[in-house]
Subunit: 298 residues, 2 copies
């Protein structure tokens, strides 16, 4: 029996770093969670976690799916940095360079949503689906799109969270809380936007609160736009807000209502519960995706 | 000197078929326009145009960029048909099969917007830009997206015209005229939607009519969503409505206003007049794109 090659994987998020040593979902040797505090502390603990596996030559490469905005232009002097983040202390942190120099291994680096999209495409719910889409609805909203086997990067990193969608101010007078665009998708439907309306975290709203219909409508509006524009063969939605599982049937129904049978495909009609789905890798989409990133860079 | 191989190309539109014999924009041997009346008459005249070039063996392959909706699934029994079109007489017309059997040549078949996108990518304004986007704003609104050198087809053909965008009903009380979605992009901003507001064709509205600001706003909203989702390296906008050249600077300015410097790239700031542009192939984007389609199928 051959032993599969191990890699290091990091989902570097705004609240926690999930670090794993694995070759695939069935071979996870070790994992840990490190709270995202200061870059010094968090990156320091991250190095401590990986160092023994590097020293013992169990891993020789690391994948990182990182919160953004990021500089992903290899020709840039700030390649691999988190750039203009509002997160205190993290502006212009050279996540790629600091970990690469400390551990002295190859490092593959991409956006957190691209990493999660790649994880779900490689081993999760989007397996075999090209093109496919991964959306997260949580503290922020973002998406990764896998086409021809890899996450799409065009002129810029994708910023699907800032999509412009209809906002019925009679139904929902909340002006939105995106500091850039007010009532873009993220400004209306992220976790902090829900909190902005109710003065408490969205997870404390009861399942039968009428706001969930509004929330599902915003998510459905964005999915309709993604279907019309990106035409994914499957859509995975992760993130904290979608932890409320009852949102899935609501979102699916609203997608069908909004499409009005203009776009006709069995996946969008009788099979929609297999078309818009939660992540199959649970909360490891991003960190396992980082393993896939490291493998692809081999 | 080698003589470049000639192909037949058709932009099969809802008002006219543009038919050409060419190898590229610098070698157009012959071209004609045939009004779109009944399938019998229009396809009959199309065959008559191409037959001599087939008989003399000047061409052995044909590309067609066709108005839709189309069945493009090769495994389907109605592959190559126009499907559920509202255009009288054309529902379930086997455009691909009829021309293939009559002319007995290889036929490459795709959506009109994909063909135009490919034409502009191969020889026009989007040359060297991968991914790139072609949008048409005219009788309908649609878009083609070239990624990894070919038009994207995912689960379905792209239907960007039916995008959901913000609609300020105070500013513009017109409810939209899309029979499926009311105030989607096409229902608000197509030529017939302009006519629906003013009882006359949009082209008769004076350049300084305040509606053009509203129109430019809808187009800009959709471009912002395309930039955030597809991240094209360049955007070409064609179609009858965009024949009003003064719309280009208005649309560019509104795109910048809507992005609010969240997405920062020189192409979107000082160079935006080279980022959002009219077609370089004029009204031959689609028919020359059909030549490119035929070449790709070689």
């Amino acid at each position: 029996m051959t032993v599969p090659t191990l890699f290091g994987g990091i989902e570097a998020g705004g609240t926690k770093f999930i670090c794993i040593i694995a070759s695939d979902p069935d071979h996870i040797l070790e994992q840990t969670r490190i709270p995202t505090t200061t870059p010094e502390e968090t990156l320091g603990k991250t190095m401590e976690f990986f160092q023994p596996f590097v020293s013992s030559r169990q891993i020789s490469a690391l994948g990182i799916g990182c919160f953004g905005p990021l500089d992903l232009n290899p020709a840039s002097s700030t390649y691999g940095h988190i750039t203009n983040t509002p997160k205190p202390g993290w502006k212009y942190t050279d996540v790629h360079g600091i970990l690469q120099r400390a551990l002295n291994v190859r490092v593959a680096f991409d956006m957190d949503v691209n990493s999660a999209a790649l994880g779900e495409y490689t081993w999760g719910a989007n397996q075999g689906c090209d093109p496919s889409l991964y959306i997260t609805v949580g503290t922020g909203i973002g998406g990764g799109y896998v086409v021809n086997g890899k996450p799409l990067i065009g002129l810029l990193n994708l910023e699907m969270g800032h999509l412009r969608i209809p906002h019925d101010t009679q139904l929902d007078p909340f002006p939105g809380n995106c500091p850039f665009h007010g009532d873009c998708l993220e400004g209306l439907a992220s976790g902090p936007a829900i909190q902005g309306r109710f003065g408490s975290r969205g997870e404390s709203l009861p399942d039968d609160h009428p706001f969930w219909e509004v929330e599902a409508g915003y998510i459905a509006s964005s999915l309709v736009n993604f279907i019309l524009t990106l035409s994914p063969k499957k859509i995975v939605i992760g993130g904290g807000v979608m932890g409320r599982a009852f949102l899935f049937p609501m979102v699916r129904r609203k997608v069908q209502e909004l499409l009005q049978d203009y776009v006709v495909h069995p996946f969008l009609l009788q099979d929609i519960e297999h078309y818009i789905v939660p992540p199959a890798l649970g909360n490891l989409s991003g960190s396992l995706g980082a393993i896939a990133l490291a493998q692809m860079a081999e």
